[in-house]
């Protein structure tokens, strides 16, 4: 093994890259924003050199703001997940003065813009495949803030009985069918690039209508269903 002599060339005058000097917090935000786009497309195979190039900065600069690629990606995921729920939605979904159909249509119109978007879906799936624990947290949140409230609304819609007891997993799965079908739609669109020439508005409304029509007849049956393996 040859002895390693650290020899560093002293540059005299070299062509300089145009340089923008930013406040650290600002630069950090910029990097994060770029990283979200980049990792949404490339996933874990994304390269720090390529990311820095897209950002118009040098690669070592990334390490001034983030100790490692791993940490950077983790922050990206966290942002994606935290940004995925608007606080107003809680009130909207539980507002029984609005017909459930209208609540759901309004909610999903917005949800498709924010969360069932290209960036979000891709990061979400990358994160799931990689086995980060983040998706669990997200699923739990969806259950608490979307699934369960809709279950309660369905109970109110389909039955006068006030004493159902705790929400069962069977009820939850009933509602997951609706949510899942939209998730699948977004996945087809953004992961598999499946194009359909439909009026999205109409599709959304019809899906929800159809779901609710079915629920009126079938949701009450879940009242007496015993959960077993």
């Amino acid at each position: 093994m040859p002895p390693k002599v650290a020899k560093r060339k002293i540059s005299k005058k070299t062509p300089q890259k145009s340089r923008v000097r930013m406040a650290p917090s600002q630069r950090r935000e910029l990097i994060l924003a770029g990283a979200i786009d980049y990792f949404a497309e490339l996933g874990f195979t994304g390269k720090t050199r390529e990311l820095s190039e897209r950002l118009g900065i040098t690669q070592p600069l990334l390490y001034r703001y983030f100790p490692s690629k791993q940490v950077l990606m983790e922050e990206v995921f966290e942002i994606i997940f935290l940004d995925s729920w608007q606080k107003e939605w809680d009130a909207l979904l539980e507002n029984s003065s609005i017909p459930l159909k209208k609540r759901l249509v309004t909610f999903y119109q917005q949800y498709f813009e924010d969360s069932f978007s290209r960036r979000w879906i891709r990061v979400y799936l990358y994160s799931g495949l990689a086995g980060t624990g983040m998706n669990q947290k997200y699923l739990k949140m969806i259950r608490q803030r979307l699934i369960d409230p809709v279950c309660m609304a369905l109970r109110a819609l389909c039955s006068d009985d006030k004493n159902w007891g705790p929400i069962s997993d069977d009820e939850r799965e009933f509602v997951w069918v609706l949510h899942g079908s939209f998730f699948a739609y977004a996945t087809r669109k953004y992961i598999f690039n499946h194009e359909t020439k439909i009026n999205f508005e109409g599709y959304l409304t019809r899906s929800i209508e159809n779901f609710l029509d079915g629920a009126k007849a079938n949701y009450p049956k879940l009242r007496s269903v015993k959960t077993s393996s």
Copy 2:
């Protein structure tokens, strides 16, 4: 740049790895089977060394049977996709002497075993995220062999009118809702490790029942829907 002299150490006696000598075709199959499992878990970031270790062979041996990792993975994907449709299903789905509900229940029971399995779902998503064109082919097949036949069955179920003309994308999306909700269920289970304590059989039946109940009321409306952007 120092001249590179290819110097190879001549081993005299070295501890040998136990070696099994197999017929090429047999070894090939073995590698492929292992690769399916391996790449289903790890995706494109899977390493040839780790794969070979799992297989109990040395890494260079992979290259005796496959010219590159890329080619090996492509074969894996092709097998996964080709294996995902049983020929009997075509006849089953179009067999109008069986009630549609029963056809669908039977179909999805089997489909969940073969295609909405852990291995399949993961490879399918890896493939989609990586942007291989394979998913398109698969989606097209699903449309032809599942979506469209179900559309025709729904027409027969919900209306006496025999002159609907060609199937519209709105009708297809109506059916995709059902298929998509099952896809999403499998994704939740195998990608996000979401556990639910439900009776799967009952879940499947209820979902299909609910879908058909809704369809009876709402599918006929698609007859006159004009598709627009």
